[in-house]
Amino acid sequence: MMEARKYVWEGAIPLQIHLHESEVTTLPPPLPALILAPRIGYLPLLVPHIKPHFSSTLPPGIDTVWFDYKGLPLKWYIPTGILFDLLCAEPERPWNLTVHFRGYPGNILIPCEGEDSVKWSFINSLKEAAYIINGNCKSVMNMSQPDQVELWRSVINAGNLEAYIRVSSKLKLGTVGDEYAADLYSSSLNSRQSIGDTDSTGQVKTGKCFTLLDAVKSLLPEYFPYKSLNNEESSREEDKDEEKVPSENLSEHVESCYSSDDAEVKLVRIQGIEPKLEIPFSWVVNNLVNPEHFLHLCVCLKLPQVKIPSDT
C-alpha cells in the first residue's frame, strides 16, 4: 500500500514556462524555463527556481508572480497536478505555461506573497479536513511548531512521504476502510463516513463494496439519471455501536457547468490516473489523497451536441 502512495506522491508534471512577452526587455528573448513540478506542490513554490532564468530580462519593479495557461490566470492555491488534470483534457507534455512578474490581477486572484501564503492555504485546508472528520480543528491547531515545519517541508521537498506520514499520523485523520453498504452522510454531499478497518467484529456486511463509481454518483447524481438497482438504496447505518471513523473529504472539480440534460461523465481523473470505476473507493482515498487530506476528483463531461436551428 505504501508503494502505490509513494509512487503517487512523487509524481510530477514537466513544465515549459514562458515569460510573458510584455515583460521581455532584451533581445533575443529568453528561452522558456523547463522544470519538473511536483503534482502535490504549488506553482508559487517554483518561482525561486524559475526567476534566475528570467531575472536579467525583467523590467524594473517589484515582483508579483502569477501564472496563466492559454490566458487563464491560474489559482495558485490549487496543487499543480490538479490544475494540469483539470485544464488539459488531452495531457500536454511538456505543459506550456506563461509566467508574469508584474501586473498581478488582484481583482481575479487572491494575493500571494510567496511560500508563506501557500503554506497558510495548505494549513487552512488541512484544518477544514480535520473539522469535517473530527468535528473540530484542534489536532491541527495544536500541532507543535517543529511538527508544522516538518509537515510543510515534507510536502514541498518533492514528496518526503515517510516524514509526512510520521507527522500527519499525529493528527488522527485516519484511513478509510471498505464500505459494504452505501452509508452516506446525507446532509452533505461532500463528506462521507465509513466503517474503520480496525474493527474486527464482523461489521462487514454482505453485499457489494462501495466503489469509485458509487462515490461519483453520489456527488454528481445529476449526471446519472437512471437510478441503479443496487447498493445505492441501502439504508443509512443507525447502529450506535459502530465506531464513527473519519470521513474522507472530496473536492470535485467539474470542468463545465452546462445543464445536465444529456451530459454524461466521460472520465474521472485522480492524480493523473483514470482509475477503473469499479475499484473500491477506500483504495482510491487511501492512496490518492493529497497531503492536505482532500481527495480531488477531476471529472470530464461529455456534452450533448447543440443543434443550431437553420433559417427557413
Partner: protein
C-alpha cells in the same frame, strides 16, 4: 434538541426564517434586510443575504458588501465582505482595519475565534474577505448556553442567524437593532 449536547453548528434540514424589517436611520447605520422570507436548507445549501452598510460621516465613503454564506464543511454561516470607495477603488485589509469601529472590532480580531482571511467568493469567484469559520461553532455554543431559558426550551433556529450576526456583525461595525430580536 438538547441544548447541552448541541455542537454549535447549523445542520442542513433545518428551516431558517429571516425576519426583515427596514431599519430607519439609527446612528447613521442603515441595514436593509430581506422581507419575511422562508428559506429551507437543502443539501447543496447556501444562504446569501446581501446587506450594504453605508457610513455617511466620512469624506471618502467606503461601501461594504456583506454576504452570508453557509459552509457545508463547517456547517455554520460564514461572513464574506468586501469594501470599496464610491469610485470603485477597493479597500485593502489595512484600510479596512482602520475603518472598523475601534473598540469591539479590535478585540474580536485579536481573539482566537475570529480572524479575517482573503479568499475566493464561492459563487462570485472573486477575492473577498472572509471571517474564518473554524471558531464559530464554539462561540455559538457558548452564546446559547448562557441563557437558562433557552437551555430549558431548546434553541430555535430563527435566533441562530440573528445571534450569529450580532457577534460577527461587530467585526464590520454592523449593529442589529433590538427590535429584530423581539419579533415573534
Amino acid at each position: 434538541m438538547d441544548i447541552l449536547s448541541w455542537d454549535g453548528t447549523l445542520s442542513s434540514g433545518g428551516r431558517i426564517l429571516i425576519i426583515g424589517e427596514h431599519n430607519s436611520q439609527e446612528e447613521h447605520d442603515e441595514i436593509s434586510c430581506p422581507q419575511k422570507e422562508e428559506t429551507s436548507c437543502s443539501e447543496k445549501e447556501e444562504l446569501i443575504d446581501i446587506a450594504t452598510l453605508v457610513q455617511s460621516n466620512c469624506s471618502k465613503v467606503p461601501y461594504y458588501d456583506l454576504h452570508i454564506i453557509y459552509s457545508a464543511s463547517y456547517r455554520v454561516p460564514v461572513l464574506f465582505f468586501r469594501a470599496y470607495y464610491s469610485d470603485g477603488e477597493p479597500l485593502g485589509f489595512n484600510a479596512i482595519e482602520k475603518d472598523l469601529p475601534a473598540h469591539s472590532a479590535k478585540a474580536l480580531l485579536d481573539s482566537k475565534w475570529t480572524f479575517i482571511t482573503q479568499e475566493e467568493h464561492p459563487y462570485l469567484n472573486r477575492p473577498w474577505f472572509k471571517l474564518h469559520p473554524c471558531g464559530t461553532s464554539e462561540w455559538m455554543k457558548l452564546l446559547f448556553h448562557v441563557d437558562v431559558s433557552v437551555a430549558k426550551n431548546g434553541v430555535t433556529i430563527e435566533l441562530y442567524l440573528l445571534s450569529w450576526l450580532s457577534v460577527v456583525g461587530q467585526v464590520v461595525g454592523l449593529r442589529i437593532p433590538l427590535e429584530m430580536l423581539n419579533q415573534p
